[in-house]
Subunit: 434 residues, 2 copies
């Protein structure tokens, strides 16, 4: 990471404050990676540069709590197929051809797309984790990076290769301040119970959080009940995994009883509305989650299923689709959605010094051009941020006080090289598959 | 409309062709309002200007088949409310304060937003139609403009003020080439049966198409059945309205039997997924409509319910939400969605010389910046156009060969004045309501 931390003052800028209300014409100072001033008047302290904020709004950046970033290179590769054929005929054969460099190329492209649309941090689960770590380290975006456990056999139970792999690159990337390591259990149906228990013990011993897929499809949810006589949520809780901080992706088929478990163990559901719609998985019981005070977060999932990593789209989907699915126009407030996409994600990642615009907090920010017709009138700017933006209005993304994206320019990514190399990976794999 | 028709050649540009496939590195010439050349080599004919198309894609513009454009000024005015309270406590009292100039201001803002996001034509239904006509005429965007019949009493049945109003401004705006006039029946529940029959006769006599709301909510659909012993679709068919070309907005609760009626009378449903989600109206049976070969179109509805007029969002919603709602990941193809947002809309508007990129057709186009990370890799560019764009990538909108929007500049709209005056209308009305 070669980009310096900026010393910069945003002048006369609207902000989405720590109560998720819009304050107009404010001054926000950033120095040493943190927000060191917020006020209605210009501070006396000097900054090396200034950004004039007229017609702009400063918001906490997005936290994308569930992704398989490398899968950007599968974007557009398999469309209009039923789930089983999509996975077995297209995705798995493609993935079998991936080499480490492909994963690096895919994650660099993902980082470019996420920074373009205002994401400052993401949680990832994929193979070739060290390639992901390298791309994350270079691009400067934050990441909770996990290595997924897949364990079908007794010999794997003894070895636990995912634990070993994680040990190795926790040591290799120990200086990467933007990376938090986690252990993942891919899913209930892809590991033995002994492996889940061993992983829970491993996470406790190392002080790590966990990332899992939970009740994404009806099939997976019902098969677990048939196999173990309990729901996936109860299964993971009983296996001790929820004793560590856990992000549970999807949670589409969780039952009322499961919601109590998620609440009790402070598990954070990472909702993936785009992916759940496109793969016809279904509608997570989001209104009930909110009612119970569960820490709902938001994710894009991988681009093979959701096709883009624009969190604005998922924010928008979160704000409208559950109203229809649960037949209640008041089922979810836009402020709940803004929180899900920012502070709740930061909390789920155990990043307790970010996710809001607050003095002393990390400068993980996006700046939005609000001087566009879709943001007028200004009757309720916070509502416009959820319902009227396209995402393309994002003009600046800052992570830990470093400007990584500004007005179509990248400062940590060679975007032409990234596009070229990602394209090359895809072409090679497709030609190999022919 | 002071903007001249351009004489311009797009060089080395990707195009979404008339089969809705992407062709790369093409040349497209526009002169006298029409596409006069498409080819893989540069034409010999001379053009006054050229646009270099590297990293860009030329697509038919969007056709927004259901809107209440003036309602942009209600954007963000009433959020997080149950439908009844939203309508009666907020929307109706606000609308009661509207004057003609407010409607003009709202439509100008809507036109700016639609042009920003690549819409070339829309179908509108609202009060103060002459203010809408004036804004449409000045902005240069195409519009199928209707005056809605609301008729509860016998005296209104004799007068039919909506017919009179339409007669008046068909004459006032007879030279406005971009406007096609239609008659509207707001809904089954807001007019007497005699008024619907009289409107059907009036439309036949004048050779006009019709625009209606149809089975948007369960309440409306079921109450019609209780009142008339038939569904709204059957009711309108029996009253003779479907004998004229009709656009039927929403169609959420249409039954199998109704779909046969829509097919038989070539009624075009204008789907409004954003509005239907946000107001918790429900999910239109889109897969069945496609299966029956019904001419599905797409609309944004008004910004009071859908908050934005970005057709890219509705295109995206159309492409994913019905897969989840009807539990079939193959329920709708992205090519069906591209057609719904373009050519199908043009057909529904009876604009048979536009909606595709084809020689001799009207130059109603949008140009998209595809050199952005969310459009890579280029494995399936047409898929990326539906699933990966945000809408903000639109850089040029051309209507009848006139460049009305290009790189954040408007050529027929004074955007600063429009934003200022729309804001003024809202402030006045809100202060009156206090």
């Amino acid at each position: 990471m070669s980009v310096e931390k900026a010393s910069v003052i945003f002048k006369n800028i609207d902000i989405l404050n720590d109560r998720f209300e819009v304050e107009r014409n404010m001054f926000v100072g950033v120095k040493g990676g943190v927000i060191d001033y917020i006020g209605a008047t210009c501070p006396e302290a000097k900054y090396d540069s200034e950004i004039y904020g007229s017609g702009k709004l400063l918001s906490p950046g997005f936290f994308n709590l569930h992704s398989h970033a490398a899968m950007t290179i599968l974007r557009g590769y398999a469309e209009n197929l039923p789930l089983h054929s999509w996975l077995h005929d297209k995705i798995f054969p493609f993935e079998a051809r991936l080499i480490e460099q492909d994963v690096y190329n895919g994650v660099m492209l993902a980082a470019a797309e996420m920074l373009r649309f205002g994401t400052v941090s993401f949680s990832d689960m994929y193979m070739f984790g060290s390639a992901t770590a390298r791309a994350v380290y270079e691009s400067g975006i934050k990441c909770n990076l996990s290595v997924p456990v897949f364990c079908f056999s007794e010999s794997d139970e003894k070895n636990m290769p995912a634990h070993k792999e994680l040990n190795e690159f926790m040591s290799e990337f120990k200086d990467a301040e933007n990376i938090t390591f986690e252990i993942a259990v891919h899913g209930e149906y892809t590991s033995t119970e002994r492996a889940v228990r061993a992983t829970a013990e491993y996470a406790k011993e190392k002080g790590l959080g966990a990332h899992i897929h939970l009740s994404e499809t009806k099939k997976e949810h019902e098969e677990c009940k048939a196999r173990h006589g309990k729901t996936p949520a109860k299964y993971f809780a009983d296996a001790g995994l929820f004793d560590v901080r856990t992000t549970a992706a999807h949670c589409v088929y969780v039952e009322n009883y499961d919601l109590d478990i998620l609440k009790e163990y402070a598990v954070s559901p990472a909702l993936n509305p785009a992916s759940n719609m496109k793969l016809a998985s279904g509608f997570a019981p989001v209104p009930k989650m909110i009612e119970k005070g569960i820490n709902i977060c938001l994710g894009t999932d991988g681009a093979a299923s959701s096709n883009n990593l624009n969190m604005q789209k998922d924010l928008y989907l979160l704000s409208i689709i559950y109203k229809a699915a649960f037949e209640d126009a008041a089922a979810i407030k836009y402020t709940d959605c803004l929180k899900a996409a920012t502070i709740n994600g930061a909390v789920a990642q155990d990043r307790l010094d970010t996710g809001v615009i607050k003095q002393g907090f990390r400068a993980d920010l996006r700046m939005i051009d609000t001087d566009c017709p879709n943001m007028f009138p200004t009757t309720d700017i916070a509502s416009n941020l959820v319902y009227a933006l396209s995402g393309g209005e994002n003009v600046l993304t800052m992570v830990d006080g470093r400007i990584l994206y500004h007005n179509y320019e990248y400062y940590s990514i060679d975007i032409e090289k990234v596009k070229y190399e990602a394209e090359g990976s895809v072409r090679r794999i497709i030609s190999e598959l022919k």
